[in-house]
């Protein structure tokens, strides 16, 4: 049956090269709307409580936030380089190391983020009873959104790190499933997580730094 369809086979092999990255792009479109709902909530809350957002945002750790932004941008560049090394460039052996470096930077991001969460918890910035900025209207909403946005982003990042590690190992051992088109799709996901953070950075850390 299947063997009797060589033409079919060929056509599907050609199509498969496109499907992985097309599928990932569509998935990322969906992800964009997923974060979009939160951005809409953010837009509402920030336009209604500009002062509260300003004061609350000033309590975030801008140094760590900036450092983390740098880490993600760098890891994205490394992963892009890994994709560029694939194929007939003769630099395939770099791929696992570049993916691994990207994953390492992502892990560093998560570690720093965790440390940030811990200090915010100690400063009483976690919404709920005992919230430090109770008197500032809107500050609690800021931190609700801060934890939701960064938390969801971290979950995505965790998935991304897992993907990079898996493909790093897969490409090193030259596994069949770690095909270039799949590495490319995983890289797309990683860049998307980066893009989300690019927007979170000014929205969460830089609302009011001059006041």
């Amino acid at each position: 049956m299947s063997a009797s369809l060589p033409l079919e086979r060929h056509r599907e092999a050609v199509a498969a090269a496109r499907t992985a990255s097309l599928g990932m792009w569509i998935f990322l479109g969906s992800e964009l709307l997923f974060f979009g709902g939160l951005l809409m909530a953010y837009l509402y809350a920030r336009t209604h409580w500009p002062q509260g957002f300003g004061q609350a945002s000033a309590r975030t750790h801008v140094v760590l936030g900036t450092l983390n932004t740098g880490l993600l941008l760098t890891s994205s560049a490394l992963v892009a380089l890994a994709v560029a090394c694939q194929g007939p460039t003769g630099r395939g052996r770099w791929v696992p190391w570049l993916l691994g470096a990207g994953a390492a930077l992502g892990t560093a991001f998560l570690a720093i983020k965790g440390w940030e969460y811990r200090s915010e918890w100690r400063e009483g910035l976690f919404p709920g009873p005992g919230f430090a900025l109770k008197a500032v209207a809107g500050a609690e909403l800021f931190f609700v959104l801060y934890f939701l946005l960064t938390g969801l982003h971290s979950v995505h990042l965790l998935v991304g790190v897992a993907l990079l590690v898996a493909f790093g190992r897969g490409t090193r051992k030259k596994r069949a499933w770690a095909a270039p088109r799949r590495v490319e799709a995983a890289a797309l996901y990683w860049h998307f997580v980066d893009v989300v953070w690019i927007f979170l950075y000014p929205l969460l850390y830089l609302v009011n730094r001059h006041g």
């Binding site: 369809l5 033409l7 599907e12 097309l22 998935f27 709902g37 509402y44 709920g128």
Partner: protein
Amino acid sequence: MNYLENGHSLRSWLGSTDHKRIAILYALAISAFFFVGGAAATLIRLELATPAGDLVSHDTYNRLFTAHGVIMVWLFLIPSIPSVLGNFLVPLMIGARDLAFPRLNLLSWYLYIAGGLIILAALFLGGVDTGWTFYTPYSTMFSNSWVAVTLAGVFVTGFSSILTGLNFIVTVHTLRVPGLGWFKLPLFVWALYATSIILVLATPVLAITALLVVAERLWQIGVFDPAHGGDPLLFQHLFWFYSHPAVYIMVLPAMGVVSEIVPCFARQRIFGYRFMAYAILAIASIGFLVWGHHMFVSGQSLAASMVFSLLSFLVAIPSAIKVFNWTATLYKGAIHFDAPMLYALGFVGLFTIGGLTGLILASLSLDVHLTDTYFVVSHFHYIMVGGSVMAYFAGLHFWWPKVTGRMYSDTWARIAAVLIFLGFNFTFFPQYLLGVQGMPRRYHAYPPEFQVLNLFSSAGAVVLALGYLLPLAYLGWSLRAGRAAGANPFAATGLEWTTPSPPPTHNFEHLPQAPDEVYGYDPNASLPEPAE
């Protein structure tokens, strides 16, 4: 070897990545959920037969209509045509061997089942009493029921929807047989394609909204909470941004099914094929712009209401075009009244009534009176039950021989079609009148002046329930004793009819040839008599 014989163990089904087998898995699951949701509906109608709330307590009643809504919307209607018929037919119709991501397809089914079981667990553990709309701040602050767990289930099924939609989009783009251009695609494929776009772009917003509600329930503070500077209307905006397009997730595939059946049994090319295809895209895209018409009296601004009302009138145009074109397809045809055709014609009639009453609801000043009354309840049941469910049954009967390889009793199927059509109108038409008189929805007990019409409605529901049980019997019988169907019992066009019934595991023995024209029917050609 056909796909049904390719292994008989449970594992060969539950681990299969064959789109046809996954379609069957979906069919079994949604049928089970349909009867659970239907049982809730039966209890609701029984309770409403008398004005006093004497059958069940108000808390039980509230849990019943919530369970009915949640199950019917997320576990039956949304996966019904796309995941069952779409899964089975899209690869066959475009001449492919499977979907683009067969394993992802199986994962979608498991996600759907996981979400469904979580929802069922919540409903049996204690139920949810918020209504399927989960309006805040009731759902976040006041409801004392299993809101978070139910929403977790909805969240998981949402991912099933997204992955299914993604799969269809990639499949239609990359796996069409050579020579099968976009304007040679059956309208069913067009409809599924447009539906998939909605699934991919709207569902994530529902997922994040569910997450926000759950977070707010746990934290007791959040963006929807008016006690802390949030806005309950923000929830409504987010919720309807998904849930209005969700209506089109339910009805666009139904339109696709009917667009296949009407030309086949009228032996006539579909009228205005291109307009039909464009109308599908127009409905899908304008459908994203009208969500605010659920919020005319919610406290939304006047200007926003005016904009959303205008856009809602506009989305009615492509729907009207479709109705006119189906009607015009009958002109100068040679019309056969087999069971699928009866269901399809029933769809056209009921959808027309549902759509026109939608126009009344889109009118700003009338909506002020009619919203949140039984008029709305009736309107969306005309669209979703009269429309989607009717079309699902039409499709089920049309492609049953293809799926199972066997014929059913056409006589019994026609009886069921008529019974469902009559029972449906009997149940839901009185509800329009109740709405006009001002009976609010979600009332457990109601003033005595509404009793007569409610009694009519409850009586009609008995007929409707009977109509829904009948196919269970004769379709079940057909599985055991139905005569063999042959590849193309209805002499229909479309690539799915060029392969044997049931189709072989890899769909086609030979690479199918793209047809010269889509719906190449000729009313004057004599039909080959199906082999007895």
